[in-house]
Symmetry: C2
Subunit: 249 residues, 2 copies
């Protein structure tokens, strides 16, 4: 609700009246709970790979020491590639935003009629017509910065990236993944070899139920479905790992 | 350029003139090359995990058979969890879009003044003012479907998901990942034990250079930077895998 930050007190500000009351509970659209979602999603993701790799290793008769080695390597590699991958993707997105912005700016100089028409086509789609459409396009195009802002947001669907937030997300993701990734490996170090896979599966499934439940809740989705999905994902990854390793190794 | 699909021939359609000519090369913004990007990104991602896991295993003295087992398990688990994860995330996004849409629709009935004000606040940000602003808001709010469309797109930044496209992306991602994931494992099966890690690193680095280059090109970014980033990601994941496994196993 970024539009609601600064309710104006004047009767109207250039035609924008003060904000009327909305729903009693402030509209909590799902974007509001990003850090919680990031920890939960990172932890859920972090369980899957080490569980799948250790389950395939143990299931195919690898020695516990080798299973542990592979599980730790998978936990760390998954966390590092997810975290660094997220940070690099954010860097790329920022570079792309900048490049597209320069291009839109150029086009507003070289092909002003076309760029005006593109603004008109967007507003037309939402029912702004006739003389009103022409005036609205003129109002937007009268300030080049706002005009380019409009094209970036509504033609290209690009929002200005936030590097600080991306770095924080990348760190949360990597840490949550590697910590969660230790859980499925632990039973292979502590339990008797015959029982380790069972304990690892039970602990991982329990954690995935909890995390899938929380993740769905934080997104306003049915929690039970979230729990089932998370467990299914872990099971499918383990089945895939076991199948390929059994077929080719 | 979805707005450019059907140029009108009439002089104006409700105030929207025919599309004026734009840049000579049709504006190829990066969204146009999605399938290529998906194959390339999937393959690049698919190399990292099996390389990191096999490098850590071999580097810490695991037997080649165990290294191969772990590498195959990591390739399959990574591909399955990325592909299925993508498909489930798309399903969640579709459910969330539907839920938010129902909510916006309800709010347009319960708090019409507030929802009109939100439309006004968005247009106001782009320079539409005064009487023109009031008229534009009325035009948009005069059709409830378009009004809710506008709020979904411009207040909540949610685009209607495309389940067919998501399923295709998920499949491309999983297949590209698992096929690429075999490359770093292969030398451990074919080369002499002492040389396998070197071959695996060389092949993986060469493939990451090529894929990183192509990925950056398909996104309009500097190719060399893309190549360096991809290799850095693979190296960092292997270093993380080796460090954690060496420290704890």
């Amino acid at each position: 609700m970024q539009t609601a930050n600064a309710p104006t007190l004047e009767p109207t500000r250039d035609g924008l009246p003060p904000m009327p009351p909305g729903p009693p509970h402030e509209e909590l659209h799902f974007a509001a709970v990003a850090p919680v979602r990031e920890v939960v999603a990172g932890a859920a993701q972090g369980l899957v790979l080490p569980f799948a790799v250790t389950a395939a290793m143990a299931g195919l008769g690898a020695a516990p020491s080798q299973t542990i080695l592979a599980g730790l390597a998978a936990a760390a590699a998954g966390a590092a590639s997810a975290g660094l991958g997220h940070a690099l993707a954010a860097r790329d997105a920022a570079a792309r935003y900048q490049a597209e912005r320069v291009r839109e700016e150029e086009e507003s100089h070289l092909y002003p009629d076309r760029e005006r028409w593109e603004v008109a086509a967007i507003l037309h789609r939402y029912g702004v017509r006739g003389q009103l459409l022409r005036q609205a396009v003129e109002a937007i195009a009268s300030d080049r910065r706002r005009w380019v802002d409009f094209m970036m947001r509504f033609e290209l669907d690009l929002s200005e990236p936030d590097p600080g937030r991306a770095a924080r997300s990348a760190t949360i993701l990597a840490v949550a993944q590697v910590v969660a990734g230790l859980l499925p490996v632990l039973p292979h170090a502590l339990a008797a070899p015959g029982a380790a896979l069972g304990w690892s599966a039970a602990l991982t499934a329990a954690a995935l139920v909890g995390l899938g439940w929380l993740k769905a809740r934080s997104e306003g989705l049915p929690p039970l479905r979230g729990a089932v999905q998370a467990v299914a994902l872990g099971g499918a990854a383990a089945a895939a790992a076991w199948s390929l390793a059994a077929a080719l190794a």
